[in-house]
Assembly symmetry: C2
Homo-oligomer: 312 residues x 2
């Protein structure tokens, strides 16, 4: 592996001249600059990341804080992550994937040490303890998910209220009068996941205005619990002919449950979910759904973040 010393030797200049020629930090004659660039190319010279970071105050790395909670469905989270990593690479950045449980400590570690030029935060809570740290950090940040207080932050999220209303309207138009809404687990709400009650409250409100009965329940997040729960719910509300699903694990488990019960969709039960087309294909789901565009949200967050990084 070539060092800056090798490049200097090859070009017949001093180490500092080679360094200035490559960094553009000081004016160097065009002829010398060309010789140094040719030497760097001939030797396949790559600057040391640590040295480059110190010299340019840039690492070309973005941090991505994404936790995999047991009560959130990992394949759904993956789609957001791929939107981030793929877009980051397109824009010339690597991604430091940080999944540890202690998000406050993780964020402080990667921003204080200047390991990253900016951060994308996922799993946003209503009162998110990471946000004060992000606001005070020297690097910009972008959020996928809506916190209680957005001030000073770039935030990207689905309109969960509108999704809830669209789902109720869809089943209402089809003539259903009694509905069940299966939300994410209650743990997610307790942790501050506002997307759960934002959709739920809007759906309940719309159902009330339309004179529909809506049974709103918190779902499980893993098999076999979620399958058993779906059976129990369909037993408990035999008159409910419409099902709203804001819970990826429940959506994924539903086909096997209706199969076991001998119920047909949509003949016996109309179903509308909130997930992405890619998720629907991955899980072979035959239901209507509100597109949640996770890859686009991740991508938009990174584009905005890089804009901020490169304008400072």
């Amino acid at each position: 592996m070539a060092t800056i010393g090798d490049v200097a030797r090859e070009a017949g200049v001093s180490r500092s001249t080679a360094s200035y020629a490559l960094s553009g930090k000081r004016p160097i004659s065009e002829e010398v600059r060309r010789r140094v660039l040719a030497a760097a190319e001939a030797l396949a010279y790559t600057p040391n990341a640590g040295a480059r970071a110190l010299a340019t105050a840039r690492t070309k790395v973005l941090g991505l804080l994404a936790q995999f909670h047991d009560d959130e469905f990992a394949p759904a989270m993956l789609q957001y992550i791929l939107g981030v990593t793929n877009t980051a690479r397109d824009l010339g950045y690597d991604t430091l994937l940080v999944t540890e449980a202690d998000g406050v400590r993780a964020l402080r570690r990667i921003t204080d040490s200047r390991m990253v030029d900016g951060v994308v935060l996922m799993n946003i809570a209503q009162e998110d303890a990471r946000l004060p740290i992000l606001r005070a950090a020297p690097q910009p940040g972008a959020l996928v998910g809506l916190p209680g207080d957005c001030s000073g932050l770039d935030v990207f999220d689905l309109d969960f209220e509108e999704a809830g209303r669209v789902m109720v309207d869809h089943l209402h138009r089809l003539g259903h009068r009694e509905l069940i809404l299966i939300s994410h687990p209650e743990h997610v709400v307790e942790r501050g996941g506002a997307y759960v009650w934002r959709l739920r409250d809007a759906a309940l409100d719309r159902a009330r205005r339309l004179g529909l009965t809506l049974h709103a329940v918190y779902g499980e997040s893993r098999q076999p619990a979620v399958g058993r729960q779906l059976h129990r719910l369909l037993d408990a509300y035999p008159a409910a002919t419409g099902l709203l699903i804001n819970n990826e694990a429940a959506a994924a488990a539903l086909p096997s449950v209706t199969y076991e019960r001998g119920q047909r969709v949509p003949e016996d039960l109309s179903v509308i979910g909130r997930y992405s087309a890619d998720f629907a294909a991955t899980f072979s789901l035959p239901y209507s759904f509100v597109e949640s565009a996770p890859d686009r949200l991740g991508s938009m967050a990174v584009r905005q973040l890089v804009r901020r990084v490169e304008s400072t």
Copy 2:
């Protein structure tokens, strides 16, 4: 954010003394060292990552090269990745997730620039163009997946031959005489994915020895193509009562296909797959399976990698 200068001022020592006291690079009196450590703690001082990397030649970051090919099933890949990131964090390392298409260029970029202390490679091909680069790199590497030439590398993989034999034996013991094996897509084989033909060849050999008929086909990787293909196969081989699945997308799609056909598992069709218990739960799969332990493989690869990093 505190700098080393702030720490020095707080401790009443010079910048270089503070630096030596923290790095342990030169002997400093115990009393001064304590004063510097107390100041660093009081100011919540975190060393600059670039400076630390230059000073210690360590970044405390591991690279993870994991591509998401369209013909591989992303939720299956995710389990390997979580095994890596979670174990890395347990051992004090962050993970640079590199998903770009050009693996050779990516590996050269992150090793030449010393962005990482070591790398984990996934999506291993029989003749993998990244391996010569890894062997020449200053950092150690670990592979999840078996290449044609393992020399000088730490390799972690499932015994796919044994998995193929176990799957055939299982269906043979249950009395089935005509079987279908659905492998990963042919693209994966063309790209050098040895795990496809390793399982396939071993299954064909075992079936031949046992006097069974085994129809071995390459599967699709996405819905709706994979669902249509499953229908076609079950139509084409009506006497086949046993199904072997070495293709996560096909396993995930099968419940909806048997439901549409009115076939019951295991009454009408015996199925055995090769995936993990976590995958089975995520996709609500009711089949027998050979455990593929993706999280354990990722975790073992990282443990060995960190052992190598810390012994050099």
